[in-house]
Subunit: 446 residues, 2 copies
């Protein structure tokens, strides 16, 4: 039997050729290879590793298990951004309308939160009525009219990946760089892009906290893009603290709207502009990052970016009034301030603990079928390095009830460290990785 | 979730403690851990390995998932023999009645053939009417009356092992020494034995062809027995050629009956006596191997061993007339001689090819649900080292039809090499392994 022979080969450290990957993935998608066989195979891949050609073959097989968007007829460049996931990371909500407002199409397919990290789909669904589950035909129609769509992985796209990802999640075979890279890229390469920007998070709150592993993931995805004729630029950004102030679905939508109006927190704007500039360079609309940044700031200043977000919300069934009045968003029943426990420097705001705190409040998932409460979360106004006096408000906790407030308080007490000395945070954008190599930006930053 | 944490730990080269093994095995047996999770876990065990304590914990957990026989009340010692599997290996059919006829109880649980090796149950079922699927209560009753039973793994014994073995077979995680050892011993330790003899096969037709791996398997099973208070003696025997002349289910029953009558081929008798002597030493009925061998020869000579086989067959629903007249066994429709293709020495009779030839004739399985034809197979009268003239009969092929005869002929043509020089075969019984260490017997043999 095919499956057993291939499992055996991978188990013993061998490799599969492109035809074997295709046959195995197709047989699995069709139900001819059992879940338990694929689980054993994936564990062997996890432990033994996969070379570049194998990773590319797996990606192609998953990509070709479904439909692909061909968007060349739109007559505009198509780019997307993908993040490896973090806490408070609402960049996609700002970037998609911002870039789309500049004559570049953004066919954005995102995921849900799982573990301590949030997900773009959950955030968007905090907007009353917003539909993320468009069919591929609906998505195509919206891309024609608006040049932007913000949806989940539709069932037509890379169904083999969807099935394998669910299996990996249940069998502790997620954190493998080739498997992660092939999974992400099998969906992104179905979007018909001319370029892709990756935001690989680094630091204690990141999926892969090690810089070395981050660069390996970036390099693998860049190679996969290159193998499929799609240039990829990767920025390594900080996730040793939450990004921006808001953590929690509706709260993050509100902060994204502030950002689209030019009132976003500095760190969120910096990461958004850095990633957006790379998207515009790949799209070919701008030749330098300085030009790109200047034009993005203009689009935010003149209201076009916010207007585009309003159109997206309206097209996808949401209440567009949210952009003018974020109070339209569902509101938490209770909110309370969190005060500094002592005077000193804010030395750590541990994102993983903050993310788990949002879950404890009911705003995240521990399993895929959990429903989430969009209203709960934190707005943390203090930043690492700030000086605070004892009793000074540092954050606001949003919860369903008293028990939630207490759970939130406990989470922040663990997450936030106030000490005699400040710890130097990671540089916000530390590395830029392309096919050409790794550029260390932290040594160049002012 | 428990399963994912344990999979993750094993994946990363860690170990589980006894309580974790028990919890995991019980949760799997109860259906609370999915097949795909156990498959990923077993692959991690296969690649990362398991230490002695872990192997023992797994064995105990599987053992305790089911019932155990407590046979102390029989008032006689209880021993069993287990073979790692070979071609033409019908030793169990001779040993069980032989040893039981000597005042020692033999609660023998055997397996079916899979791959190129045969299985004791399939051989016994070639006897018209013979039932191997007795319930544990039926087995107990027969042990009281006859002191011997020859059955399959009843569903009451180590059900967790049964479920895990089927999964391993489908996921290419069979050939792991700790997993093999724990699986075998979880069943054997349920038999309420005072001693166990292992026949670990060595050579090209063995499951683990390497002597080094054979000794590792022997050592692991000896340790597992020791951990559970059951002394284990292991003999390493030759499987670089089939054992005896007959290969095929009914043909092997016939040869076993010949052996019980004192007319068995020399190699089969030698391995039977060697293993039987170790069983009697462990039972404590004999103090030296010489005494044990002498008494076994007496039991065969006086017909008591054959008589005991007759009683077993009768008790288990088979036609006991087969012992007096093997023609009662189902007969193949066609048989034909196989002649030497040239003159020379018989330098190789490759057991794996012979075993696959039996499968090609319809007498073995490629999957567990295949039904088998008991009549087909080979009787190979030539032995490695014999001189043959061109055209001289070397073997008889038993088949259903012409196509079978031709398939059998092709198999023998590949399996048997006649050459100018004889190749020295492996010593029939080369090593004796106990808790005390490894004894090399080949240097001592006459």
């Amino acid at each position: 039997m095919l499956a057993q022979r291939l499992i055996e080969r991978k188990r013993d450290g061998g490799r599969l050729d492109a035809g074997e990957w295709r046959a195995l993935v197709n047989a699995y998608a069709a139900g001819h290879v059992a879940d338990y066989q694929m689980a054993a195979f994936l564990m062997a891949c996890f432990i033994r590793g996969m070379d570049r050609a194998e990773t590319s073959s797996l990606m192609s097989a998953m990509l070709n298990s479904g439909e692909k968007l061909d968007l060349a007829y739109l007559g505009v460049p198509r780019v997307d951004k993908h993040s490896s996931g973090g806490v408070g990371d609402k960049v996609s909500l700002v970037l998609a309308p911002l870039i789309a407002s500049m004559g570049v199409a953004v066919p954005m397919m995102s995921g849900r939160g799982l573990g301590h990290t949030g997900g773009t789909l959950d955030k968007l669904e905090a907007i009353p009525g917003f539909r993320t589950n468009l069919s591929l035909d609906e998505a195509r129609a919206q891309l024609e009219s608006l040049h932007v769509v913000m949806i989940g992985q539709s069932r037509e796209i890379a169904p083999a990946d969807k099935k394998m990802y669910a299996l990996r999640d249940a069998t502790s075979t997620v954190e493998s760089i080739p498997l992660i890279a092939a999974s992400i890229m099998s969906k992104k390469m179905a979007e018909g892009l001319v370029g892709l920007v990756l935001d690989v998070k680094r630091g204690s709150g990141a999926f892969l906290p090690d810089l070395e592993r981050d660069l390996e993931l970036a390099g693998t995805m860049i190679q996969l893009g290159d193998d499929h004729g799609c240039p990829v630029t990767c920025l390594v950004t900080a996730m040793d603290r939450p990004l921006g102030r808001a953590c929690g679905n509706a709260l993050e939508v509100e902060e994204s709207i502030l950002a689209l109006r030019g009132e976003g927190p500095a760190d969120l704007m910096e990461v958004t502009y850095a990633l957006g500039a790379e998207m515009l360079l790949l799209a070919g609309t701008h030749a330098t990052r300085e030009d790109a940044r200047r034009d993005m700031a203009i689009q935010i200043g003149n209201g076009k970016a916010a207007e585009c977000f309003q159109k997206i919300i309206e097209a996808q069934g949401g209440n567009p009034g949210v952009v003018d009045d974020p109070a339209v968003l569902p509101q938490a029943d209770q909110c309370e301030l969190y005060a500094a426990p002592r005077r000193g420097f804010v030395s750590r705001i541990e994102p993983r603990t903050v993310g788990r705190g949002v879950i404890a409040l009911g705003g995240g998932r521990t399993k895929m079928e959990d429903t989430i409460d969009p209203t709960v979360g934190f707005v943390i106004s203090s930043r690492p390095g700030d000086w605070v006096e004892s009793g000074e408000p540092m954050a606001t906790i949003f919860a369903r009830d008293r028990a939630g407030i207490e759970a939130g308080r406990a989470a922040l007490a663990t997450a936030i460290t106030v000490a005699d000395e400040a710890e130097p945070p990671l540089p916000l954008v530390s590395h830029r990785v392309t096919k050409g190599g790794v550029e260390d930006l932290s040594s160049q930053s002012s």
